[in-house]
């Protein structure tokens, strides 16, 4: 569970950073007549997004997310900045309660034998 969360989070941030770079650096350069950056970063984002999709999907299954949050999570990797917002939302709304419920299964510490 923690591993799945970590994988998702890492990919969310990497994909998000690359996408922001693509949209706010690559696209303006492309418009200005230098398409090389946008082309290369675009392909990199495509590959990263595939990995992001797989990890986000695995996490959504582990969290037993309903369809809507799952789709939002998967599509977030295609909208600039949205990855960060959705990652925070998913963490607060779903990951934190799920991890807390895991911790809850641990019994309170029993008194020491005196």
């Amino acid at each position: 569970m923690e591993a799945a969360v970590l994988r998702y989070r890492v990919m969310a941030y990497i994909t998000g950073v690359v996408l922001v770079f693509l949209c706010f650096v690559g696209i303006p350069l492309q418009v200005a007549g230098h398409p090389a950056v946008a082309n290369n970063v675009g392909v990199v984002h495509g590959i990263l997004y595939i990995i992001y999709l797989v990890f986000a999907w695995i996490l959504s299954r582990k969290l037993r997310l309903a369809n809507k949050p799952t789709v939002i999570m998967l599509l977030a990797g295609t909208v600039p900045i949205m990855t960060f917002i959705v990652e925070r939302w998913i963490t607060r709304r779903f990951i934190a309660p799920a991890l807390a419920s895991q911790a809850e299964t641990a019994e309170p510490v029993s008194p020491r034998a005196s």
Binding site: M1, N39, G42, V43, G46, I50, L53, W57, R61, K62, L63, R64, L65, A66, N67, K68, P69, T70, V71, L74, R93, F94, A96, P97, A98, A100, S101, Q102, E104, T105, E107, P108, V109, P111, R112, S114
Partner: protein
Amino acid sequence: MENAAPLEGAGPAGGAGLTDGASPAAAAVTAPSGPVWRFLFAPRWLGWHLFMVVSFWGMLWLGDWQFHRAMSGNALSWAYTFEWPLFAGFAVVFWAKTIRDEFRIKRGETLTGSSEEAESLPFGVGTIHVPAAQSAVPADDEDPELSAYNAYLTRLNAEVKNHGRWHGLR
């Protein structure tokens, strides 16, 4: 709780020995109102089916479009020519697995019984809640630091109890 609200009564409560008697889900358990597969035809699910069909064919169409661009000399389009059909395939696999899991939940089975799956059970399912009165009031011979810690655990438990239950988690 996004899915198939009308069949809520047939929900996951039977899944893993619900022991929290105070939970509303436990009180609301009723007999399923029909065959298990009926949830697939609930309006909400029909909407999802439509969404999946449209996105599947849309992605194949985009792949075809990129293929034609690639054929007419745009080398960059080759990457997308393969990527779009891959996404379309993902959509099908994800969708099939979602429906399969939904069937298992409706039938009250536990999802693929690996231990990691069991660990990720949502609140109130498969866990025993320690009644607050028991652990919050320490026995006389207890170390005060320890009982403060136990009280803290109890408070945390009470704070997060049932969070997310009706907001997307199953």
